[in-house]
Each structure stands twice: as C-alpha cells, then as structure tokens.
C-alpha cells in the first residue's frame, strides 16, 4: 500500500521554512504521491524478469535424456553438471528450477498462425496470453506479470518499472507471418493493448536512472547545483505564495512537497555514496557496446545499481530477439543463434545448441554476484530479489512450447528457499508458476494470468528420486 499520510518530518520541514499552513489541509492534499522509501515498504522484493528466446536444447527428446536443461533428480540433490544451467552451481542456494511447464498460448491456434511462433512467443512469456494475429495497430495480448506487480507497488519508487533489451526493436509495423513487430520487440505489456518500449542503449537507461553526468564527480557537482536550485525554488515559492489566491497557494504547496521529495532523494543518493560502498558506476556507458557479453553485463550493472539505490524495483530484460542470427563467439559455437536452434534433432547439433544456451545462462551469475554483494538491512539484495529467467519456447527446432526452460533465482524475501528442482506435472502451464510468484510478491488480488489453472507450490521439497524419461 503506497497511499499514505505525510511524514511528520516533512511537516516539520514546512514549518521550519516559516510557512504557516493549516495542518489538516495538508492531510487532504493529493496523497498518493507520498513516498515510502524510508518505511516498511523499503524492503519490498525487487523483480527482474529475463527472457531468452529460442527455447533450449534440453527441451528436445535427446536433450531431456541427457539432462541438458532439467536435472535428473527433483528436490535438493540435483546434479547440474550436464545442464546448460551448470554455471549457476555457485548460486545453488538461491536457485529454484521449475521444469516441465508449457506455454500453450504461444502455440498456433489456427492454420494462419502455424509457423509464426517466432513472431508471437515473446509477447506470451510474461503475459501467458495468446496474441491476436495482426500487423496493424489492433494488437492485443494481455498484461504482463512484471507490470501487474509494478502497477501495484512500483509507485513507491522514482521509476515504477523499466524495460531493457539487447537487440534492436522497431515498435511499429509488421514483422512476418502477419504479426506486428511489437510482439517480438517487448515482453512488457501494461495492458492487453499497451506494449511498453524497451531501452536498448545502456546510456539512455543510465541517464534515466541516475541523472545526467558521465563521471561520479560530474554527477556530484550536478547534485550540488540541483540542491541549491531546489533550495532557491523553495524560497521563491514561499515569496510567491503571499501574492496568490488560496487554490493557487495550495497548488504551490503541492509543488513544494515535490521539491522536498527530490531533495530527500538527492540526500539518499549522497548517503549511499558516503557509506563507502562502490555503488556508483565508474563512468557512464557511452552507448551500445558491440559485444553481447559487455552489453548484457552493463544492463545487469544498471539493474543492480538501480535496485541498490531503490530507484526502481521492477525490470524486464529481453536478452535476445526471435530469429536472431547473432553469433556468440564466447559460447564456443560458431553457428548463428537461429540456425543453431533448428538443429534438425541431430545429436551433435543439439549439443552445439546447448553450448549457446549455457553461454546465455553463464551471464546471469554476474548479476547474482552483484546482488549478493549489496547489503541492505540485515541481509543482501539477492535475498530480496526475484530473478525469473526463461523462454516461451521449448524445442525450437519444431517450434513447440512444451517443457520450456525456466528457473528462478534469489530468495525474493522468503517466498523462495532455493536449492530446489521442481518438476511440474505434464501439461502444467508456466502461467501457474508466474501467478504464484505474483501472489508471493503481494499481488494477491490477481486471480489468474493468461491460461493459468491454479497456483504452484514453489517451496515444498519433493522426495529425491531419479526420474524416468517420461514427458
């Protein structure tokens, strides 16, 4: 709940300025903008929802048999060695794997939709709804879970949510198979018809989050200037008030509240900076790096910093683009991403595709490590963060959406315990897992998400057994 009455301290601040005001009126002022950063809500869970496209090698029959994604054992004693998730071993205590869920709404519903999976799937990942096939502006899918969370709790922070991506986006127009590009371009939907653009340039994201200024010194100088300007504005408003009618005075008071709020935020940033923790980037990024590795890590840096400074608590992050022909030299595989995903079910090529999957996952520990190092209160940020990583596709060779890759990292303020592999019963919608997470995040009023059929126990430990190759 973010609608609240004023802080006592702020009333005192107003009085301290020599402003005489009827206090009951203050309480009647538009209240929803009051921020709670310093109160109980400060510990609220951070969310980073990451999408990787093209499914995983582990979703093929061969990959399942070889445990290329989901480990053989459920419960706690699972072996990650053969899995593309093996880079997460150091964060095992923070890892909850949910295997064997389906994203049915990414399937084709009619003959015209067959084959269009690449141009439909991304829109389904966080909405779990079925996109309307159109290249026009009449796009329709559903609200995404990150936005359902941000709409309820994002107002506590300066920026309710932020959307980041790695590959280029076009926003408008048609892509292929009769689908508007926007379905491929973003995973965040504020409503069924309201796609949110994603930011690709780390510098643009940086400026939005941390203000203008390339170096810490410049930003510090800017903060000083802004503080003195704010101080002066406060004085000017006090001077103006006496000349105006009552309702105009009230409006100015509102503005004065905002002045105080921004002053408070600046102080907060400065307090962080003087605490000696390396929370500032050494320098602002120049633009979009050529290297995928650098680009992804920069986007993770930004997310960790924004979480630490409590500027926003919700990120969605699209790490790939359907049909992308990018080559990832660091993965060891020289085949472009999309051709690699159409491996023709050949074992050697599936293994090659698994290398790419593993490389993508291997970038996540960088983020988790950053979060674990940031202390907040008596725990660290990884304890308070929910990272969702998954793909709305399963076996990309045949464009199916069964047994899709999905893992959760972080303890999300206790809703996850970690060190757990859960295998969903066949046919379980991924939506059930996302809905359960939303409830855990506090959005308990959300009754369903996409094709969800219920919730999913994310903490119960199943008995550790070797599983057959059913599926």
């Amino acid at each position: 709940m973010y609608i609240t009455k004023k802080h006592i301290s702020r009333r005192t601040a107003l009085r301290g300025m020599g402003v005489t005001l009827a206090l009951p009126f203050l309480d009647a002022m538009v209240p929803a903008r009051t921020l709670l950063a310093k109160t109980a809500a400060a510990g609220r869970t951070r969310l980073s929802a990451i999408e990787m496209v093209h499914g995983a090698a582990g979703s093929t029959t061969f990959g399942l048999a070889k445990n290329m994604w989901s480990p053989a054992a459920v419960g706690r004693a699972f072996d990650l060695t053969p899995s593309s998730m093996s880079p997460l071993e150091p964060f095992r205590e923070y890892l909850t794997i949910v295997s064997n869920t389906d994203v049915k709404n990414a399937e084709a519903f009619g003959p015209k939709e067959i084959g269009g999976d690449h141009f439909r799937s991304s829109a389904v990942f966080l909405t779990q709804a079925h996109p309307k096939q159109t290249e026009g502006s009449d796009v329709h899918v559903g609200p995404s879970m990150d936005q359902l969370y941000a709409q309820r709790f994002g107002q506590d922070t300066a920026i309710p949510s932020m959307q980041l991506c790695i590959e280029n986006v076009d926003q408008s127009g048609g892509c292929a198979y009769g689908y508007a590009c926007v379905y491929t371009d973003t995973i965040s939907w504020a409503g069924p018809t309201d796609p949110l653009p994603m930011v690709r340039d780390p510098r643009a994201a940086f400026d939005q989050l941390f203000g203008v200024g390339a170096t810490p010194e410049q930003r510090a100088a800017n903060r000083r200037t802004n503080r003195s300007i704010l101080d002066w504005i406060g004085g000017e408003i006090a001077r103006l008030r006496s000349e105006l009618g009552p309702s105009d005075r009230n409006r100015l008071n509102e503005y004065l509240e905002d002045v105080r709020e921004i002053e408070r935020r600046i102080q907060q940033v400065e307090a962080h900076n003087t605490s000696g923790e390396p929370r500032e980037l050494p320098g602002a990024p120049v633009g979009v790096p050529d290297s995928f590795d650098d680009h992804v890590k920069l986007m993770f840096d930004l997310q960790a910093l924004a979480f630490a400074a409590d500027i926003t608590r919700v990120f969605s992050f699209k790490m790939g683009r359907d049909g992308s022909g990018r080559v990832y030299p660091e993965s060891g595989a020289k085949v472009p991403f999309h051709p690699a995903s159409h491996h023709g079910e050949r074992e050697d090529r599936i293994a090659q595709f698994a290398q790419i999957n593993k490389y993508h996952v291997s970038l996540v520990p960088y983020f988790l490590e950053k979060l674990r190092k940031i202390e907040e209160g008596d725990s660290n940020l990884l304890d308070k963060t929910l990272v969702i990583y998954g793909s709305p596709m399963g076996n990309s060779n045949v464009h199916n959406h069964k047994r899709c890759p999905l893992f959760l990292a972080g303890h999300a303020n206790g809703i996850l315990k970690g060190n757990l592999h859960l295998k969903a019963p066949d046919g379980t919608p991924m939506a059930n897992v996302l809905l359960t997470l939303l409830h855990g995040l506090g959005a308990t009023d959300v009754g369903s998400l996409g094709d969800s059929t219920g919730t999913f126990d994310l903490t119960g430990v199943p008995s550790t057994t070797e599983m057959g190759l059913g599926a």
Binding site: G136, A158, N168, S172, G173, T225, D258, V286, V288, F337
Partner: protein, 826 residues
C-alpha cells in the same frame, strides 16, 4: 390542457404561424397552434464586451408554448420514473431556465443539434424546436448579461509544447522535451487545461534535468564527455523516395538537426534492416552506398556489403571513421545514393510500405533495397572547444574584456534572459537571486560556467515554469476582477503562439495599454499574422480534431499496402495546412466543412487521385471531386476513425457527434459484443462493414444509440480505411445511404456535409467552445455559453472569419477577468 398562445410580433423573415399537430396525449388527441415570435432577442442581448455586432433576430416562443413543448415531448422519457440519460425534467421550469442553467444548456445543445426528441419518437416541427432553444437561450443570456461569470482557473504550468517553444524563443535551439517531461494529461481534448496539470516528483525532476541539459546545449559544453544519441526511423516510413532535408540524389534514410555539444570528433553509426533470418534486407541490390552528410556536405560514403548479416561481429551496423564537427545545431543526414529513378519493372511490383514483410528482402523477382533502421551519433572525442553557435550569439550579448567587467556583463546577460523567461520586468530580488548562481557556478573563475548555472536556474524557476496570475490586493472573495495587463499578455501569447510573449507585447502590457481595445485589437491581428500563429493549427486544431489519434492507427499492410508512415504524415499536414490557411488568410471557419481546395504533395495527391502534383512539397490544389471537400474528405480524419482492417462507421459517427456537434454519444454499456465477434461471412460471401453493423444493431439496447451514430459514419463508407475512394466493400457495392437522426435522408458525403452546414450554428458553437477552452486553459462550463453564443452571433456579421472568433474570445470577460475565490477554510 390546451394552450393557445397569442401572436406577439411579426418577424421580418421566415417565421410565421405554424400549426403543430401533437400526437395523442392520454385519451384526447388535440391540436395546438403555436405561434413563433421573434424580434426581442436583439434588445436583450447581453452587454458583454465585444458583443455589439448586429445579427439576425432569432425566433422565440411564448412561455406557455415552451411549457407545452417540454411537457409533451420531453417528459415522456425525462421524468422521475424513466430518467432517460440520467436527466429528469419533472421539476424543470422553462420560466426559470437561467436558475437551472446547467440543465438548460444541455437541453439547448440537444435541440440545436436536432438530436432530441430522438429518432423514432414523436417530434414537433423543426421550427418549434429551434424556437424553444432560442427562447431558453434568450432567457439565460439576459440573466448572464446582468451577472456575468468569468469563471476562474488555477495557474497553468508550461506543458511540453509550450516549454519547447519558450526555450526556442529564448535560446534559439530546438530541444526534445519528451526526453525530460512526462506526457501531458489531456482534459476535454487539450493538454493545457490547468486543473488537469498535476505535479509529481517525476515532473519536477524532469524540469531540473531539462534545465541542466538545455543550458549546456545552448552554450555548448567544453567538458562534454562521449555519449550516444540514437535516432530511430519508423519502420513504416517509405525509404524509396527522397527524404526532406537530405541531399538531393539520395533516397530514404534520415535527416535530423542534431545539437553537437562541443567541437570534436564524432562517429556516425547506421544500423540496417535485416530479413528475419538475419541477412541484409535488400541483399539482391548490388553496389548500394550510404552517404553521411553534415549541412549538405558529404563527410563519409560507405559501401554496403550485400552479404552483411546479424552474425557478423558488428552485426548490421556500418560506422563512419571519426569526423570533426563543430558545436551547435547542424543538419545531419544519412541516406542512400539514389541509383535509379522511375517505376520498377519486376516480377512483383514493390509497394510504398516496403518493410511490410521483411521476408521478401532477399527474394529474386521483387526489387528490394537496403533500409536504414536507426542512426546513432557517438561522441565527442578529442574535444577542442566550443565554436560560436546561434545559442551563444543570443546569450552572450556582451563579452567581458577584463575580470572587472565580468559582474556587470553577467548581470546584463542574466537580466535579459530572465526578463524574457519570466515574461515580465524584473525586481532587484529576481536579479540578486540569479546572480548568486552566477557566482557559485563560476566560482569566480569561469565566466561562462557562471552564466550557464544562472541560465539553468532560470529554466528551473517557478517564474518560468508557472504562469502565475496575481489577483489585485483589493479583490474581495466572489468578486470579478480584471487581470493585470502582463497576465493578459501571457494569456494572449500562449493562446495564439503557444509560447511566451515577445518584447513588443510585454512592452504594451508594461505600459498598461494592452487593455485598451484598439491596442488589443492591433496586437491580436499582429500576432495572428506572425508565423508563430501556426500553432493554432498544429496545437489547437490538431487536438480539437484529435489528429494525435492518427499515429495510433496502422492499417493492415496486407490490405492497405499503399499506406505508410510517410502518407500518414502527409495526411496530418494537409489538415494542419487547411487550418493554417483559415488563420493566415482570415477565412470563414465554415470552410473546414466546405473548402473546395486543399493541400497535397505527390504522395497524397496520388492517394486522392489528384493529377499533376509532384515532389514532397505541399501545394494548394482545388478539389475536383465534390465528395472530398472539407474535413470529411480528408485522409487524416477518415483513417484515424477506422480500425486496422475495416472502416468503423461507429467511430466516424462518434467523431462527427463529438468533434463537430459537441454532443458525444454515451459510452457503450458493458458486455456488449465487439463487432469483430459478428460473423465476417455469410452464405459463402464476405460481409460488408455495413452488413456486420446491421447484425450488431439488431439488439434493441444498442440500436437506440447506434441509429443516431451509425448513419453519420455510414454516409462516409465510400472512403476506405485510408480515406481512399471506393465503390465496393468486401466485394459488395458500397451503400452510403441512411437517415440522419432528425429524419434528413443521407446519400453519402455530400449530403452529410450539407446536413452539417445546415446546422452550422451548432458546429460553430462547438468550434468556439473548443477554441475558448484552449485559450483559457480550463474547461468551458455552462456559464460560458452565453459568451459562446454571442461570439458566434457577432462572427456571423464578419462571415465567420477566423479572427472574429479569436477577438470575440480575447475580449470576453472569461479571458480578461477572473473571479476572486473564497478563502479556504482553515
């Protein structure tokens, strides 16, 4: 109950004794003679300012006849039991229309539009309806003349558009404020309505950031560090033809004015479109080259490798070497060299919207060419300083030659800037406050840094951001008072220019002469003749007509391949140019409906089938096809009232009711099935939109509104989703006939236009209400309607010239006065 009113006077024209046969009421049928009187309206016209023009007397009715009309025709639905439309008139008394002005105005509006009594219900003679409306108007206007209410609003803040224009007028640079300020809330169509302009920490932070960035952009930044700015091209923009601003001999690409922060080295990076599997879109074209130019001079020419692919180390990017560029705004273009001209003869003919399907981008037999996706400017590296720029020339009006001269020069510069930014003469306190920023910003060493910091403070100051209007100290609560001339000057300039007043206007106000009618008149005419008055088209008309909705419609490219971003831009420009002409040439506002001329460029002319227009530049043409005259024949309006794959007679009808008639239909009840859910085909044949609409309308609950809305839109069915003329819809012949709510029969656009022209009174009032709301920055309320009517009446004597509406508003009490508020209760 039989009423037999007597004749009160014989009007000069048109009004004569009429016999109205009223349908049976209760058991008895009876007949009633109604006498329509006229003539007394002129003598009772309110004596508000500028309401002196003569006008034709309006017929009014004796009181008893008014009562009979209300009782017999209105109360059947609007009684306490039924309360249709949430309105009961059971205790409404026509004799006290002015005491119930809010309800009276609702009645007047519906009667004047001819929408009440509703279609299907019994209706009195049209003249009786008009006479009833006129009678109510007369009574209300008379009362308002005795006690005018100018209304009040709280202060406005600069919205995005006004902020950007004020900065341009102050510093001579264009800034993209959308990067800083949150979107403005629209209220009653407009983005400048004071009480909808909320505050938030995000907004304040936005103003602070804008002030910081703009002060650096204006003066240049010798400490600039490398950054990147990316310009995206709309995917739906055509890249086959020349782009405005780019050098001739090029096709497609982009041309922007970019503000370079410092002299130094910059790199330009272009990303090209790829086909879905990652190879270059347009790879079948060999020898394509991309040129980067600054102010028309080539700085780089890059070969495009047709084999380039996403899987290359640098992906789909091409980058120039470092290029030395001077600080300030420079026009930068990245465009392809044009290698051939004329129609392409290939197996498949390419369409304008060439990226509709990127899969064709490597297919033989379809001529495709590489397309630019985005354009990034990266830098500066190796900064060498800051050259002279327009912003610097404007700001640095003096140059200190020694440290001793610095404070005086700085004080002059800061005062000049602040006077213009604050839109008033300065007080010593103003200057002293700002000079502190000069001193701390420069730390006594750096003159320019000091000026920049003072400028930053000016741009963040409440005196700049807010348009505060100070009530006189003597104003008692509830009392009307006249605005100070300086506040009047700001109201004028933000109304006519969407920006701050210029020196001449401020001077007139500072001498307290602006309120003198002759001076005011002269200033208004001067301002209307200024190019800045084009904002009346690009801001007022665009918002009134909802042109912003055009961006939200992307017609299905498979059905409408001729439509793209470039055509949409041209459509919007056409509408703005028509309105600009009304402003500049002071023409009749009714030409919005009837103009037999319009403005087109080659693309739009081809779309409309108008011959002999070439090039990207717009030119005035006369419209040979009578169907296409006026707004109702313009692609902008017709497209934005469609959905992606079909026309929407409902949206078009709603647009006419809302925008032109000022009577929006009520929102649909919940759980109404969408039109898309009705069958698209029947008996092996695709259904026309009209047929689907008729099935949808079979539901009586829907029909009561849709029989009003739909015929308006169905009359425009000959215009397809993109506003192109058609004679078939889904294979069936277009049927554009229908019956207007008042019984007028419609046979297409011409008859609809005629029906609206015959109701021009209500169209002009709606226009005036909107113009007034935009001028005042507040919603127009029922107590403003007497002024609205007077303005329209007076404009009739001036052939409804645009300036007569502007002057009417500017001279109205609502514009010049305000009502002092009561103190808030403690």
């Amino acid at each position: 109950m039989v009423v037999r009113p007597s004749r009160t006077s014989e009007p000069g024209r048109g009004s004569r004794l009429r016999r109205l046969t009223l349908a049976s009421t209760g058991a008895l049928g009876f007949s009633l003679s109604l006498c329509i009187a006229a003539g007394d309206a002129a003598s009772t016209r309110p004596a508000a300012p500028a309401m002196s023009a003569s006008h034709e007397p309006t017929a009014t009715l004796p009181l008893a006849s008014q009562r009979v009309l209300v009782d017999e025709y209105c109360l059947t639905c609007h009684d306490d039991d039924k309360e249709k439309g949430g309105l009961t008139l059971q205790r409404y008394d026509v004799a006290r229309a002015e005491r119930n002005a809010e309800i009276s105005e609702k009645i007047i509006r519906k009667l004047r539009a001819g929408m009440m009594p509703p279609p299907g219900a019994e209706r009195p003679d049209a003249a009786a309806i008009t006479a009833l409306a006129a009678s109510l108007e007369t009574r209300i206007d008379r009362a308002s003349a005795v006690r005018p209410n100018p209304g009040r609003r709280s202060f406005q803040r600069l919205n995005r558009a006004e902020y950007a224009r004020s900065v341009r007028d102050l510093l001579g640079i264009d800034v993209d404020v959308t990067a800083f300020l949150p979107p403005d809330t629209l209220s009653h169509n407009f983005d400048n309505i004071a009480d909808a302009q909320s505050f938030s920490p995000t907004l304040l932070e936005g103003y602070l950031r804008a002030a910081d960035r703009i002060s650096r952009d204006a003066l240049g930044d010798p400490d600039a560090t490398p950054g990147s700015t990316t310009y995206k091209l709309p995917r739906t923009a055509s890249q086959l033809a020349h782009v405005e601003g780019a050098p001739f001999g090029t096709r497609g690409g982009i041309s922007v004015v970019h503000n370079f922060p410092a002299d130094g080295e910059y790199m330009f990076r272009m990303m090209l479109h790829s086909i879905p599997t990652g190879q270059l879109y347009g790879s079948t074209a060999r020898g394509e080259q991309l040129e980067v130019s600054i102010n028309g001079a080539r700085v780089a020419l890059l070969d495009i490798n047709p084999r380039m692919s996403e899987s290359d180390p640098s992906g789909m990017n091409i980058q120039t070497p470092a290029v030395t560029v001077k600080a300030g705004p420079q026009r930068v273009s990245a465009a392809f060299l044009q290698r051939f001209e004329g129609p392409v003869d290939d197996v498949l003919a390419p369409v304008e919207h060439t990226l509709a399907d990127t899969q064709i981008g490597s297919a033989l037999g379809v001529t495709t060419l590489p397309h630019l996706r985005d354009f990034a400017i990266v830098g500066p590296h190796n900064v060498t300083g800051v050259s002279e720029t327009p912003g610097r020339r404007r700001v640095f009006t003096c140059r200190p030659l020694s440290p001793d001269e610095e404070p005086t020069c700085a004080s002059n510069i800061v005062s000049d800037l602040a006077r213009q930014a604050y839109r008033r003469p300065l007080t010593p306190d103003d200057v002293n406050g700002l000079m502190q920023f000069y001193r701390t910003g420069g730390e006594g060493r750096d003159f320019e840094a000091g000026i920049r910091t003072a400028l930053q403070a000016i741009l963040a100051s409440p005196h700049f951001i807010f348009r505060l209007e100070e009530p006189p100290a003597t104003a008692r609560p509830g009392q009307n008072y006249r605005l100070r001339d300086l506040d009047l000057a700001s109201r004028l300039s933000f109304f006519l220019w969407a920006s701050a007043p210029d020196a001449e206007l401020v001077d007139a106000a500072a001498r307290d002469t602006l309120r003198v009618p002759a001076v005011l008149d002269k200033q208004v005419r001067r301002m209307l003749a200024d190019p800045r008055a084009a904002t009346l088209a690009s801001r007022f008309a665009a918002q009134w007509l909802r042109l912003q909705d055009l961006d939200k419609i992307h017609p299905d490219p498979l059905l409408y391949p001729q439509y793209d971003h470039t055509l949409a831009d041209a459509m919007q420009r056409e509408t703005e140019l028509l309105f600009e002409t009304l402003v500049r040439d002071d023409r009749s506002v009714l030409e919005l409906l009837t103009a037999d001329y319009t403005f087109v460029n080659e693309r739009l002319a081809r779309h409309y089938g108008i011959p002999n227009v070439s090039g990207t530049r717009f030119q005035r043409v006369s419209i040979p096809d009578v169907n296409r005259r006026g707004l109702l024949g313009q692609g902008s309006i017709l497209t934005m009232t469609s959905v992606a794959d079909r026309t929407s007679p409902v949206l078009r009808g709603k647009w006419v009711m809302e925008v032109l008639l000022g009577s929006p239909p009520p929102p649909p009840p919940p759980d109404v099935p969408d039109l898309e859910e009705t069958h698209a085909a029947k008996e092996g044949r695709l259904l026309s939109v009209r047929e689907r609409l008729e099935m949808h309308r079979a539901n009586p609950a829907c029909n009561s509104c849709h029989r009003v809305i739909d015929p308006l839109g169905l009359a425009l069915e000959n215009f397809d989703v993109t506003g192109a003329w058609r004679i078939r819809d889904n294979g069936s012949a277009v049927d554009a006939t229908g019956t207007l709510y008042d019984g007028t029969s419609l046979q297409g656009p011409i008859s609809l236009r005629q029906a609206l022209v015959s109701r021009s009174e209500i169209v002009l009032r709606t226009f005036t209400e909107n113009l007034m709301a935009y001028a005042l920055g507040r919603r127009v309320a029922h107590y403003d309607m007497p002024a609205v009517r007077a303005i329209v009446r007076d404009a009739s004597a001036k052939e409804y010239r645009f300036s007569s509406f502007v002057l009417g508003i500017v001279k109205s009490p609502a514009f010049q006065m305000s009502r002092a508020e009561k103190e808030a209760d403690p």
